[in-house]
């Protein structure tokens, strides 16, 4: 494959990249403290670390978005200084961000062409760009339609656009920031094939992740960051998951939970033949029926965009169903408004927590009362009782170990894990009988994830009915009593949690019916 590598005018091929003693300080925070990192051509380096460990900061310095306070970046032994992404791109570095950097109302080829010099300057030469782009796609087996708009593409396709963008710019070294967070297991497999192909073509890859098994599967070497320091670089052959987890968190971590036996109670949430449209009136949920009992966690597995979002919104009253029924404790709530769901003892942990779950510019106390602000003891006759609010918030913050200087801290200044703990604290303090938890640990570090998982299990034992919507199969399997798999708005099948294998679930997530999936396994 290496002989088919396409090169475009740029500086020398990157054979070896070194970051030496990189230190970066933000006001009050030491983000990187003398970090060292090294990657060679044809090598996949995993950069592992919890949120806030300094992975992104480090990579942004490599990509020219920040300049280091001290330390050096060497390419092939020569020092380089990047003042902007352009410098980095010219040196052959490409970066694929966790949140895709795509312009949604431009086409694929326009996104690729953005920022490039044109041969017909000042006019665009989209035809030329398209031809070269398709060459790259052929080389690496990437399927893409250059004429389509980004907003029309699925997440996996969008990621391919990002890869093509980087390769088009002649990237020798690719930084991939948590690239698998949004992919299905099948897509992850496909994606890894692409990565390996790129490595074979003598590209260097830096793969940022906190998913241990992926790191072990794909990388040649692993560099672990903790609290801004590198805590070791290891060869892949002799590492175990437990070792890595401990290195990353700094203490032993439980990767399997001891679960008390299932104590099923009466049906709490019942969904009958539900249809839910998206914003453009296309049904994204088509005929879903589910029953969730008290004391049970039902996991809903599926690739993002298969109707989970619409289903969760319909179940919490945020989106109107076009057909079907929803019963909460036997009461029809299909047409109920969100606050009626709240009143009926339902809680919802939204998928986009920073957008929907909290108000960033409100302080902790104000966020804590978000849903119940108009109820006692927080307010009476529309007038707030701040004493009660502070007391209850303090209690919940303590109980859920939310780390914050004080209760009047703006939520935007909390870390992702603490925000999620705060949301969990709020939702669980309401003592709900039914909880819809959408991606409760996405983007949350291992320590906090573990904590959140334990609290969910605790509530399960107390009799709460939980619908756990997650794209993280490990999470689903670790917590769920039963697992429903959703594909294209339909439930492909419901299997028993403990007996499900990831292969089987993976097939079902791709739309293979239950029986077939069982056979294939």
């Amino acid at each position: 494959m290496a002989e088919k590598r396409i090169t475009y005018p740029k500086s020398d091929h990157i054979k070896k990249l070194q970051m030496i003693d990189i230190t970066k300080r933000f006001p009050g925070v030491l983000a990187n403290d003398r970090v060292n990192l090294e990657v060679n051509e044809g090598e996949i380096l995993a950069l592992l670390g919890e949120n806030g460990a300094g992975k992104s900061t480090l990579m942004k310095q490599l990509y020219g978005l920040y300049t280091p306070d001290s330390g050096q970046i060497l390419i092939n032994g020569k020092e380089v200084v990047f003042h902007s992404p352009t410098d980095a791109i010219n040196a052959g570095i490409g970066m694929i961000h966790q949140h895709f950097m795509l312009v949604s109302n431009l086409t694929v080829v326009e996104n690729v062409a953005l920022g490039l010099k044109s041969s017909r300057a000042p006019f665009l030469d989209l035809k030329v760009v398209e031809r070269r782009m398709m060459d790259i796609c052929d080389t690496y087996n990437l399927k893409l339609d250059p004429k389509r708009y980004i907003w029309e593409l699925a997440v996996g396709e969008q990621q391919r656009v990002e890869i093509v963008k980087a390769l088009y710019r002649g990237a020798d070294l690719l930084i991939l920031d948590e690239p698998t967070a949004v992919l299905t297991p099948q897509e992850v497999d496909e994606f890894f094939v692409i990565l390996k192909k790129m490595a074979e073509a003598m590209h260097s890859l830096i793969f940022i992740s906190h998913k241990l098994n992926e790191v072990i599967e794909i990388s040649d070497r692993v560099t672990v960051l903790r609290d801004g320091c590198s805590v070791g670089s290891v060869k892949n052959e002799n590492i175990t998951k437990t070792d890595l987890a401990e290195k990353m968190v700094g203490r032993p971590v439980v990767l399997q939970y001891d679960r008390s036996p299932l104590n099923r109670r009466e049906v709490r949430l019942k969904v009958e033949d539900l249809y839910v449209p998206n914003d453009w009136d296309e049904d994204k949920v088509c005929g879903v029926s589910l029953e969730i009992h008290g004391g049970e966690i039902l996991g809903l597995a599926g690739v993002s965009g298969n109707g989970q979002r619409e289903l969760a919104q319909a179940l919490s009253g945020l989106r109107a169903a076009s057909k079907g029924k929803i019963y909460l404790d036997g009461v029809d709530v299909t047409k109920a408004a969100p606050y009626e769901h709240n009143l009926a003892g339902q809680s919802y942990i939204p998928e986009e927590r920073n957008k929907e779950g909290i108000i960033k510019d409100f302080v902790i106390t104000e966020n804590f009362i978000l849903e119940d602000h108009d109820k006692e003891p927080y307010s009476k006759n529309s007038i707030f009782n701040f004493k009660n609010i502070d007391r209850e918030t303090q209690r919940a913050v303590d109980a859920f170990a939310v780390k914050t200087p004080n209760l009047k801290t703006m939520v935007k200044n909390l870390s992702g894990g603490n925000v999620q703990k705060l949301i969990l604290a709020r939702e669980l303090s309401r003592k709900p009988r039914v909880l819809i938890a959408a991606q409760p640990t996405r983007g949350v570090d291992i320590g906090a994830s573990e904590y959140i998982h334990l609290r969910l299990l605790e509530q399960r034992d107390l009799g709460m009915a939980t619908l756990l919507i997650s794209e993280d199969l490990d999470e689903i399997r670790a917590l769920s009593d039963r697992i429903a798999v959703i594909f294209d708005g339909r439930i492909v099948g419901i299997v028993d949690g403990p007996s499900a294998t990831s292969e089987m679930l993976g097939l079902m997530m791709a739309g293979v019916p239950l029986e077939e999936a069982q056979q294939k396994k």
């Binding site: 992104s56 895709f100 795509l102 312009v103 431009l106 920022g115 010099k117």
Partner: protein, 310 residues
């Protein structure tokens, strides 16, 4: 009513609408570039007044119309720089900085008028109408469309030019990307601030020229506050257009047509109270704004860009 529906009258109204639309076109196309790059500039009105004065003053002193347009462009550029510094570099609230710029521009143009020209009404020889050969001789249509001064023709040429820049050039691609997803543009080495400066300043240059059309290409004199809210309408037209150049043209013509129509109806003695008639274009604008939906609305409109820290 009968006398309204003869070709002469109708094409008369259209011809007037074509002229009246000129300043809206300059200002709105300028604003279109601003907004596509993610900034909106409510200071257009103030920039126009400064443009109107500087163009007039230069033409009055030198007699050279080219210098007049140039002066309006330069003054527009300076005003645009003020706006850009405040809204792009200082990341201030754009709506209010725009109002501030309008207050400043309207005030300063009056002050300069008073100081430099003693506030006297003077007139200059403005741009003359040019009848386009052959096309200009077509009955009715010739007079309505092909017998205007050069600034009018240029105004209409701006529409295809803006289309080409926005959709066919690398710069246009950058502009659209910066307004839609500045982060994405930034990671590809497109300087968000540079593009925004360019658009705000470029837009302001056009706004300055829009002002000049009042003082040297239409009325050929200067009066305080002579733009009389045109700048605000221009901003509204951009929303109306759904950020598409050709729909700016549509909006500007529609608005001007209603204005020309109500004047004609007054002259013809069709009795509607003048104040109510004057209200119509504004009502119409509100109504049309209701029906505008566009996927091209710059997602980052009015949002100052800062590299995020995570």
């Amino acid at each position: 009513m009968d006398n309204l529906f003869n070709p002469e009258t109708i094409f008369g109204i259209i011809g007037m609408a074509v002229t009246l639309a000129m300043p809206y076109l300059y200002a709105a196309i300028g604003e279109l570039f601003d907004q596509t790059a993610g900034c909106y500039n409510l200071g257009t009105e103030g920039i126009m007044m400064m443009g109107a004065f500087s163009a007039f003053y230069v033409v009055y002193e030198t007699g050279n119309l080219g210098f007049g347009v140039l002066a309006a462009a330069i003054v527009g550029l300076l005003m645009g720089l003020i706006m850009a510094v405040i809204s792009v570099t200082f990341k201030a609230e754009q709506g209010i900085s725009g109002i501030g710029l309008t207050m400043f521009g309207v005030g300063l143009s009056s002050l300069l008028f008073k100081t430099l020209l003693n506030g006297t009404v003077l007139s200059v020889k403005g741009f003359k109408s040019i009848r386009i050969p052959i096309l200009g001789d077509i009955p009715y249509i010739g007079d309505a469309f092909f017998n205007h001064n050069i600034m009018v023709y240029v105004a209409y040429l701006l529409i295809p030019i803006a289309s080409i820049i926005l959709y066919k050039t690398t710069l246009g691609l950058k502009i659209r990307a910066v307004g839609q997803n500045p982060q994405a543009a930034d990671t590809l080495g497109v300087s968000v601030n540079k593009i925004r400066y360019l658009c705000v300043c470029g837009g302001a240059i056009l706004a300055g020229i829009a002002g000049a059309t009042f003082s040297i290409a239409n009325i050929n004199m200067f009066q305080e506050k002579m733009t009389n809210g045109t700048g605000y309408i221009a901003v509204a037209l951009v929303y109306f257009s759904g950020w598409k150049p050709w729909r700016v043209l549509l909006g500007a013509l529609l608005f001007s047509f209603v204005n020309a129509l109500q004047l004609r109806m007054q002259v013809l003695g069709i009795n509607i109270p003048s104040d109510i008639a004057m209200m119509m274009p504004y009502l119409l604008t509100i109504v049309t704004l209701i029906f505008v939906k566009s996927r091209d609305k710059p997602a980052a409109l009015a949002v100052p860009y800062e590299r995020s820290e995570n």
